[in-house]
């Protein structure tokens, strides 16, 4: 068992697609929350294996895409301060704020580095006591344990040259925001398997009940996705609205308890501004007051936001599942992965980047 190849079997995928076709009797609209799933659905052509009656909308589940421009501008300002080394994940360095991207800050002489893990940033701070190392921390519940671990390790090591600019986001409040919008169209959700690996499935139960939507926890391989779609459609056809777990090899109902304990210890829930969606109450994680000494905002001061730039980008509609990337006049013309106008084209998990990579011919 390698946990990858087994879930890419083409013959099984066809049989699942047939089972889906045999299940559907009327039109349904589903949304996958997670950008990793969007990417996998397009890469493996799963959207094209589904009956016409099934519409897949792509959700806001790309942390890079929803990080507000003001946070990126603040990171750029910090990167420009003397003695600072600013680290983040690769995609975060390319995302445009209103004052450019972190890569443009590097071109101006800032010490900006890509890291694979927040723990690499802690190690860098230990190796370079002469530098102030700042980690720009973004991500969903999947990534929050790694960020929490970085804080706990920095505390243990007594580091005073490590801090974080934290802009973490939470999935359930975003689902509720989508469902309570007046033009809500989504009838069933594929919940993000790796978010639920950390958090478990309990917090989705009240949402499924309140809004009468099935929520199926789904993995990332083709068979996982097809199985999740089939389960969701079976529920809809039968008039059920339950939380189901189709990613049992990774997701336990209670999630990862030690990781949740670290999240509760290190972070406090706060309102968060989502790029393209606006502020959502209680949808973010920031550092808890006891860890305020690791907050880069306290260490370097807040910055005034740059004036927003006029842009043809419709990524707000795309993140809310209102429009598809090919509906954007800039798609593939003035906006490409090399010259992105919006975050959804930058991130490898953004819907615009996924369509650019796998569906450009269809759009032409």
């Amino acid at each position: 068992m390698k946990y990858v190849d087994e879930y890419r079997d083409a013959a099984l995928a066809r049989r699942l697609a047939q089972a889906i076709a045999g299940t559907v009797t009327r039109p349904w609209t589903l949304m996958e929350i997670c950008g990793g799933q969007t990417h996998s659905l397009l890469r493996h052509g799963i959207d094209q294996m589904l009956p016409e009656d099934v519409t897949l909308l792509h959700g806001p589940g790309c942390p890079v895409c929803v990080t507000p421009a003001a946070v990126i501008d603040q990171a750029i300002a910090i990167a420009g301060a003397p003695g600072v080394t600013l680290c983040s994940f690769g995609d975060m360095l390319r995302v445009p704020g209103d004052a450019g991207s972190l890569l443009s800050a590097r071109a101006r002489g800032g010490d900006v580095r890509m890291v694979y893990s927040p723990l690499d940033a802690v190690a860098l701070a230990q190796a370079r006591p002469d530098r102030q190392v700042v980690f720009l921390a973004v991500g969903f519940e999947t990534t929050a344990p790694a960020t929490a671990m970085a804080v706990l390790q920095a505390e243990r090591a007594g580091l005073d040259n490590f801090s974080l600019l934290v802009s973490h986001v939470l999935v359930p409040p975003a689902i509720e925001a989508l469902l309570s919008a007046p033009d809500a169209r989504v009838q069933g959700f594929l919940a993000a398997g790796h978010v639920c690996t950390v958090m478990g499935t309990g917090e989705y139960e009240p949402i499924a009940r309140r809004y009468r939507v099935p929520i199926v926890v789904t993995g990332f391989e083709p068979l996982d996705l097809l199985q999740g779609i089939l389960s969701c459609l079976r529920q809809l056809e039968a008039g059920r609205a339950e939380v189901e777990n189709e990613y049992g090899r990774s997701v336990r109902p209670g999630g990862n308890q030690p990781a949740q304990a670290a999240i509760r210890q290190v972070f406090a829930i706060e309102p968060r501004d989502w790029r393209g969606m606006g502020e959502i109450a209680a949808s973010g994680l920031g550092l808890a007051p006891v860890y305020a000494r690791f907050d880069a905002r306290n260490r370097f001061g807040a910055t005034d936001p740059a004036p927003p730039r006029a842009s043809p980008c419709i990524s707000g509609d795309i993140l809310r599942g209102r429009r598809k990337p090919v509906a954007c006049p800039a798609f593939g013309t003035s906006c490409t992965p090399e010259h992105p106008l919006g975050a959804t084209m930058v991130s490898s998990e953004g819907a615009c980047a996924a369509y650019y990579r796998y569906r450009r011919a269809a759009a032409a």
Binding site: L16, A146, H194, R249, S250, N256, A262
Partner: protein, 78 residues
């Protein structure tokens, strides 16, 4: 960004729960992965790693059950 990759634990170092770490093989690539949130992980297990941290030990029995269910899809159809 929430990409998390299954890898096999080759070796475990450290007793301290906060810094316990494993050498984990992802295909041909071997990386150091924090096992602080996977205290039950043992050598030979597959863990799911994200941003340098294991967030789950994969459940082989459950994984086989899923595949077996898919294999008997026709019978499973209601």
């Amino acid at each position: 960004m929430c990409l998390a990759v299954p890898g096999r634990v080759l070796e475990i170092a450290g007793e301290d729960p906060l810094t316990r770490s494993g050498r984990v093989a992802f295909g041909g690539i071997v990386k150091a992965i924090s096992l602080a949130f996977a205290p039950e992980a043992a050598v030979g297990d597959y863990v799911l790693a994200h941003a340098g941290v294991a967030i789950a030990v994969l459940d082989e029995a459950e994984a086989r059950r899923t595949i077996a269910c898919l294999d008997t899809l026709e019978e499973a159809e209601r």
